[in-house]
C-alpha cells in the first residue's frame, strides 16, 4: 500500500504539489487525473523516488521510498516522455532491466513481445510512438515490479493495444497483486480500468475516492418547472453548477440520488430525471468549482 502524507514539491516559486494525502491500495488501479500542470507527473516522480518531496513523505508498505533499493526493485516508472539507451533494442533493454530487477521474467517478456508483434532485436529508435510505448509497458510488466507508475500510459496506443494492456494489468492484479498507478488525461480510458481515482488541481488534491463512490456521489439533474428557480431556492442541495434555459434546469449536484430526487419532487416539477455523470463530466464539474473554467473563453 502506498501512502502519501502531506507531500509537497516546490519548483522555484511554483508549488507543483501541495500537501497531498492519498492512500493507494494494493491490487487496485489508481487513476490520477488532473488539469494541465496539476502536478500529476511530479507526484508520480516522487512516488518513484526520482524527486524528493520538500515536505511530507511517501511510504510504500510503511517504508520511505527515497534511496530505498529493495523497495525500488518493486517499483517501475513508465514516464510520459520515454527514454531508452541509445542504440538499444527491446532485447538489450530487457537484459539491462534484468540486471537491476531480480524478478525480471524473461519468459513473460518473450511472450509479450511476440504477442504484440514487436521485433526484439530491432532498434527501438526505429519504432513508432505506439510501439515504443508498448515496449516500455512490456518491460515494466516483465520486470515483476509490484507497483507500476504510468504517466499517460495509453498515449499513442491503438484501441486493440490499449485493451490488451488493460487486460494484462487486470490479470496481473489478480495473479500477483500488482498495483498500477496511472496518470492520464484520457478519462474514458481510466474509467474502464480504475478502481480508485485522485483528482489533482493546481498542485492540490480535490478528492481521492473509489470510482464508484465518485460516480454515486455526483449527479446531473434535468428538470422542468412551471416557475423560475434560483440556486438559492435549493438550500438543501449541494449544487455545483446550475444552468437554466427557459423552464428547463440542468444541475450538477453532489449527494445521494434519493435525497436529490426527493428535494426536486417536493417542488412539483413538470419533468425531472437524474443522469449518471461520466468521469470526464465529474472532472469538469469539480475543476470548475475550483475556478478552472476555461470554457468561458469560448462560450
Amino acid at each position: 500500500m502506498i501512502v502519501t502524507e502531506k507531500i509537497t514539491k516546490i519548483f522555484d516559486d511554483t508549488v507543483a504539489v501541495d500537501h497531498i494525502d492519498t492512500v493507494m491500495k494494493d491490487g487496485s488501479v489508481f487513476g490520477l487525473i488532473g488539469s494541465n500542470g496539476a502536478g500529476k507527473s511530479t507526484f508520480l516522480r516522487m512516488l518513484a523516488g526520482v524527486l524528493k518531496p520538500d515536505d511530507g513523505y511517501v511510504r510504500i508498505d510503511g517504508e520511505d521510498v527515497w534511496e530505498n533499493i529493495p523497495l525500488k526493485r518493486r517499483c517501475f516508472l513508465v514516464p510520459d516522455d520515454l527514454y531508452f539507451l541509445s542504440g538499444a533494442t527491446p532485447d538489450s533493454m530487457a537484459a539491462y532491466y534484468a540486471s537491476i530487477y531480480p524478478k525480471f521474467d524473461h519468459a513473460r517478456y518473450n511472450h509479450l513481445i511476440k504477442g504484440f508483434d514487436l521485433k526484439g532485436n530491432k532498434r527501438i529508435g526505429t519504432f513508432s510512438k505506439g510501439m515504443r510505448r508498448q515496449t516500455a509497458l512490456i518491460l515494466a510488466i516483465s520486470s515483476g515490479a509490484d507497483y507500476i507508475f504510468c504517466d499517460e500510459a495509453f498515449d499513442g496506443l491503438d484501441p486493440v493495444a490499449r485493451q490488451t494492456i488493460k487486460s494484462i494489468f487486470i490479470n496481473d492484479m489478480q495473479e500477483r497483486n500488482m498495483t498500477p498507478i496511472i496518470a492520464s488525461h484520457n478519462l474514458r480510458e481510466l474509467e474502464d480500468i480504475c478502481d480508485h481515482v485522485g483528482l489533482l488541481h493546481k498542485g492540490g488534491i480535490l478528492f481521492s475516492k473509489d470510482l464508484d463512490d465518485v460516480k454515486l456521489g455526483i449527479h446531473k439533474l434535468h428538470a422542468a418547472f412551471n416557475r423560475q428557480y434560483l440556486k438559492e431556492d435549493f438550500p438543501e442541495l449541494d449544487i455545483m453548477k446550475m444552468e437554466q434555459r427557459g423552464s428547463l434546469i440542468t444541475m450538477t449536484v453532489r449527494g445521494n440520488s434519493d435525497d436529490i430526487m426527493r428535494s426536486v419532487q417536493a417542488r412539483m416539477p413538470l419533468f425531472a430525471e437524474l443522469l449518471p455523470l461520466s468521469l470526464e463530466e465529474i472532472f469538469i464539474s469539480e475543476t470548475e468549482v475550483k475556478g478552472y473554467d476555461i470554457k468561458k473563453l469560448i462560450f
Partner: protein, 739 residues
C-alpha cells in the same frame, strides 16, 4: 555505497554496460593516441635513425617529451569531454530513467566516474605500452629514456584526474550541458587567470614582490595543467621538489573535489535538469570572479591600446565588466532581463575587489622597499646561462659558477658577464662570410638557430628571496654595420674609441660585401682593428655602468636586454662577430666562401656544462674536428679523392664522446679537405683568372658568354677551375659593367 557493493559483480556488470555506451569516446581517444604514440614514435625514430644512425639523450628526450606534451594537451580535452557520462543529469527524461531504477545515487555516481576513467586510461595505457616497446627496441637508445615516458604517463594521469574532477564538479553545479562545459573550463582556468591578473597588477609597481619565491611557488602549481607540465620538466633538485609537493596538493584537492561532487550529486534536485544551475548559490563563485576578471582584462587591454592612459584603463574595466555581467546574468537563468538585477551586489563586489587591490598594493610596496634596502640583503646568487638551441630542438647550456660573489661585486660581475655572454653566444657557433647584403652572417651550430643568453639573479633578504630573469636573443643574421652600432651602445663600451674602430671595420666589410672580388681587406689591418675592438670592450670596466641598486640589473641593460618575465616580450640584441682571422683571410684570398669553424675565445675556457653527457659530446666533437681536419687536409694535399674514413665504430657507439667525435670528424674532414686542397685552389685561381678576363671582355665587347672547354675528371683541380671560372666571370662582367 559500501566497499563491498562497489566491488560487487553487479556493479561491474552495470559499469561495463555503461562503458559500452561511450565507446565513441574511447574510440576517438584511441585514434588520437594511435597516431600520437606508436605511429609518431615509430615515424620520428625510424626517419632519424636512418639519417643519423645514433641518438643523443637530448634528442630522444625531446622527442618523447614532445609526444608526451601533445598527449598531455589532448588529455585536457578528454578530461573535459568525459564528464559527458553525467549528462543524463541535464535531461529530465534521462534522469527519470536512471533515478527511477533500483540503483543508489552513490553507485550511479561512481559507475559513471569510473566509466570516464576507463574511457581515458585504457587507450592511454595501450598507447603507452606500444611506445615503450618502440623506445626499448630501437638500437642506441638508453633504457633510461623509458623512464621519461613513465613520468609523462603519470603526468597525464594526474592531469586527467585533476581536470576531470573540476569538470565533474561543474556538471554537478550546473544543469545544462553547455553551461557545465563553460563552467568546467572556467574552474580549470580560473586560478591561473586570477593569479595572472594579480601578478600583472603587482608587477606594475613592484620589482621584487612579483618575483619573490612565494609568487613562483604559487605559479608552479596554480592550475592542474601548470603543475603537470612542471612535473614532466627536467628537475635537478631531486624528487621532493616543488612539483612533487604540488602533485600532493593537487591530488588532495582533486580527491576532495571528487567527493564534493559526489556529495552534490546526492543532494542535487532532479527538477534542476535542463536549468543553467542546479545549485543557485554556486553563482557566487562564478559570476563575480568572472566579471571582475573580465573587467580587469578589459582594463589592461585598453590601457595598452591607449598608451597607458588611465581613462582608457577605466573605460576597458567598466565596459568589459558590464558586458561580462550581462552575459553571465543572462546565462544564469536563460533570461537576459536577469542582467538588470543585482547591480548593487556587483557594486559591492567591485568595492571589495578594489579594497583588496589597494591592500595588496600597500603590502607589496612595503615589501619592495624593504627588500631593496642594502642592509636587508643577506646574499646574492648569480647564475649565468648561455645556451643555444639547435635545429633538432637540443639545447646546450654553459654556466659560470658565481657562487661566493656577493653584494656589489656580484652586480659588477653581472655587468661584465653580459658583455662576455654576448661574445660567447656568438663564438659558440659558426661564421659564414658572403652574400651581397649581409657581410658577416653568424649562425649557431651550423643552423639558423637562436643563441640566447639568460641571467638568473637570486637575491636573499631578511624578508624572503626573490629572483629576476634576464634573457635575450642574439641576432642569428646581423648586418655588421647596424650590429656594431647597436652593440657599441648596448654594451656601453667606450664610445669614442669603439665607434671609430667599428666604423673602420664596417667600411672594410662593406666594400667586401658589395665588391667581394675587387676589394679584399688587408689581413693585417682587419686583425689590428678587431684586436683593438676586443681590447676596448674587454677593458670597459663595470664602473662605466650605472648600478642602480643591489640586486637589480644596470638600468641601461634593463632597457636594452628586455626580460621575458618583465615584459613578456622577446627582443633581439644584435651582436658583432669575432672571426678567426687566419681562416678568414685564407678564405678571402681564394674567394672560397665556405663555412668554417671558429676557435674558442681563450677567455671563456672556464665554461662548464651542466650535463656531463653534453660535456663529453663537446669534448669528443672538438677532438674529432681536429683529427678530421688534419685528415681532410692531408687527403686534399695528396690530391686523393674525397673519401671519408670508416667511422662506424663511433657512429654506432652509445658513448657521448664517440658521438661527438663522429660529428666533429665529419665537419673537420670536410673543411680540411676543402680549404687545404691545393689542386682545388690552383684550379680555382686559374679558372677565376680566366673567367674574370672573359667577363671583362664580354662587358666591354658585348655579351658572348662562352664556357671554356675543360675536361672534368673528378680531380680537385678541374672542380676548382670550374667553380673559379664562373665566379670570376661574374665578378669581371659585373665589375666592368658598373665601372
Amino acid at each position: 555505497m559500501t566497499l563491498k557493493n562497489l566491488f560487487s559483480k553487479a556493479f561491474w556488470v552495470r559499469l561495463l554496460r555503461r562503458f559500452t555506451q561511450f565507446n565513441w569516446l574511447t574510440a576517438l581517444w584511441s585514434v588520437v593516441l594511435f597516431f600520437a604514440f606508436p605511429v609518431a614514435g615509430a615515424l620520428i625514430f625510424s626517419v632519424n635513425l636512418t639519417r643519423e644512425n645514433y641518438w643523443t639523450i637530448a634528442r630522444v628526450s625531446n622527442t618523447i617529451l614532445g609526444q608526451m606534451g601533445f598527449v598531455c594537451g589532448a588529455t585536457i580535452l578528454v578530461a573535459i569531454l568525459t564528464p559527458n557520462v553525467f549528462n543524463y543529469l541535464n535531461s529530465r527524461r534521462q534522469l527519470d530513467f536512471y533515478h527511477s531504477q533500483p540503483v543508489t545515487r552513490k553507485e550511479l555516481f561512481w559507475r559513471n566516474y569510473f566509466v570516464g576513467w576507463m574511457s581515458y586510461v585504457i587507450p592511454l595505457t595501450a598507447g603507452f605500452i606500444s611506445e615503450m616497446g618502440i623506445v626499448m627496441l630501437l638500437p642506441g637508445i638508453a633504457w633510461e629514456n623509458t623512464l621519461l615516458l613513465l613520468k609523462g604517463y603519470f603526468a597525464c594521469l594526474g592531469t586527467y584526474f585533476s581536470v576531470n574532477a573540476l569538470c565533474i564538479l561543474a556538471v554537478m553545479v550546473c544543469g545544462n550541458r553547455f553551461i557545465s562545459l563553460l563552467t568546467g573550463v572556467y574552474f580549470c582556468g580560473a586560478p591561473a587567470m586570477i593569479f595572472g591578473m594579480f601578478w600583472y597588477f603587482v608587477d606594475a609597481f613592484s620589482s621584487t614582490f612579483a618575483y619573490s619565491d612565494a609568487m613562483y611557488d604559487i605559479l608552479g602549481g596554480i592550475t592542474p595543467v601548470s603543475y603537470m607540465l612542471d612535473m614532466i620538466a627536467f628537475k635537478e633538485d631531486g624528487i621532493f621538489n616543488e612539483a612533487f609537493w604540488w602533485t600532493i596538493a593537487w591530488t588532495v584537492i582533486s580527491v576532495g573535489t571528487v567527493f564534493l561532487s559526489r556529495f552534490l550529486y546526492l543532494r542535487r534536485r532532479g527538477e534542476t535538469a535542463g536549468k543553467p544551475l542546479s545549485f543557485a548559490k554556486a553563482i557566487i563563485f562564478i559570476k563575480y570572479p568572472l566579471t571582475v576578471f573580465a573587467a580587469w582584462v578589459g582594463g589592461i587591454l585598453f590601457e595598452a591600446m591607449g598608451d597607458e592612459n588611465v581613462i582608457w584603463l577605466l573605460f576597458g574595466f567598466v565596459t568589459f565588466g558590464i558586458i561580462t555581467w550581462c552575459i553571465v546574468s543572462g546565462l544564469e537563468k536563460f533570461e537576459f532581463r536577469n542582467a538588470f538585477r543585482g547591480w548593487l551586489k556587483l557594486l559591492l563586489c567591485t568595492g571589495i575587489f578594489i579594497s583588496c587591490l589597494l591592500g595588496i598594493f600597500v603590502g607589496t610596496v612595503i615589501f619592495d622597499k624593504r627588500t631593496t634596502r642594502d642592509a636587508n640583503i643577506t646574499s646574492v646568487d648569480l647564475d649565468y646561462i648561455n645556451y643555444y638551441e639547435s635545429k633538432d630542438g637540443g639545447t646546450q647550456y654553459s654556466c659560470y659558477d658565481l657562487k661566493g660573489i656577493e653584494g656589489e661585486e656580484a652586480i659588477k660581475a653581472l655587468n661584465t658577464l653580459i658583455r662576455q655572454g654576448a661574445k660567447q653566444a656568438v663564438t659558440g657557433g659558426n661564421i659564414r662570410i658572403g652574400g651581397n647584403n649581409a657581410v658577416f652572417v653568424e649562425e649557431v651550430n651550423g643552423q639558423s638557430d637562436t643563441a640566447r643568453i639568460a641571467l638568473r639573479v637570486r637575491i636573499h633578504t631578511k624578508f624572503g628571496s626573490y629572483t629576476r630573469y634576464y634573457k635575450f636573443d642574439c641576432q642569428p643574421r646581423s648586418d655588421m654595420l647596424k650590429a656594431i652600432k647597436e652593440f657599441s651602445v648596448s654594451a656601453g663600451a667606450k664610445k669614442s674609441q669603439t665607434e671609430t674602430i667599428f666604423s673602420q671595420i664596417a667600411t672594410e666589410a662593406s666594400h667586401f660585401a658589395f665588391r667581394p672580388s675587387q676589394h679584399i681587406p688587408s689581413a693585417e689591418k682587419m686583425e689590428k682593428l678587431y684586436k683593438a675592438l676586443a681590447e676596448d670592450i674587454k677593458n670597459a670596466s663595470p664602473e662605466d655602468y650605472e648600478v642602480k641598486a643591489l640586486g637589480t640589473i644596470d638600468i641601461n641593460y634593463s632597457a636594452r636586454f628586455y626580460s621575458y618575465m618583465e615584459n613578456s616580450e622577446r627582443m633581439t640584441v644584435p651582436v658583432p662577430v669575432y672571426p678567426s682571422f687566419e681562416k678568414t683571410l685564407a678564405l678571402i684570398s681564394t674567394d672560397m666562401l665556405k663555412e668554417f669553424s671558429l676557435d674558442t675565445v681563450g677567455e671563456f675556457t672556464e665554461t662548464e656544462y651542466y650535463y656531463t653527457d653534453d660535456e663529453s659530446y663537446k669534448k669528443g666533437e672538438t677532438a674529432g674536428f681536429d683529427a678530421g681536419y688534419e685528415k681532410g687536409k692531408a687527403t686534399a694535399s695528396e690530391n686523393l679523392p674525397y673519401q671519408m674514413p670508416d667511422l662506424s665504430e663511433y657512429m654506432l657507439s652509445s658513448d657521448m664522446y664517440d658521438q661527438g667525435y663522429y660529428e666533429g670528424f665529419k665537419r673537420g674532414y670536410e673543411e680540411g679537405f676543402s680549404i687545404y686542397g691545393d689542386p682545388y685552389t690552383e684550379g680555382y685561381n686559374k679558372g677565376y683568372e680566366e673567367g674574370h678576363k672573359a667577363g671583362v671582355d664580354d662587358a666591354v665587347n658585348g655579351y658572348d658568354y662562352t664556357v671554356p672547354e675543360y675536361k672534368y675528371d673528378g680531380t680537385l683541380y678541374t672542380d676548382g677551375y670550374h667553380t673559379g671560372y664562373f665566379e670570376g666571370y661574374d665578378a669581371g662582367y659585373y665589375g666592368a659593367t658598373k665601372e
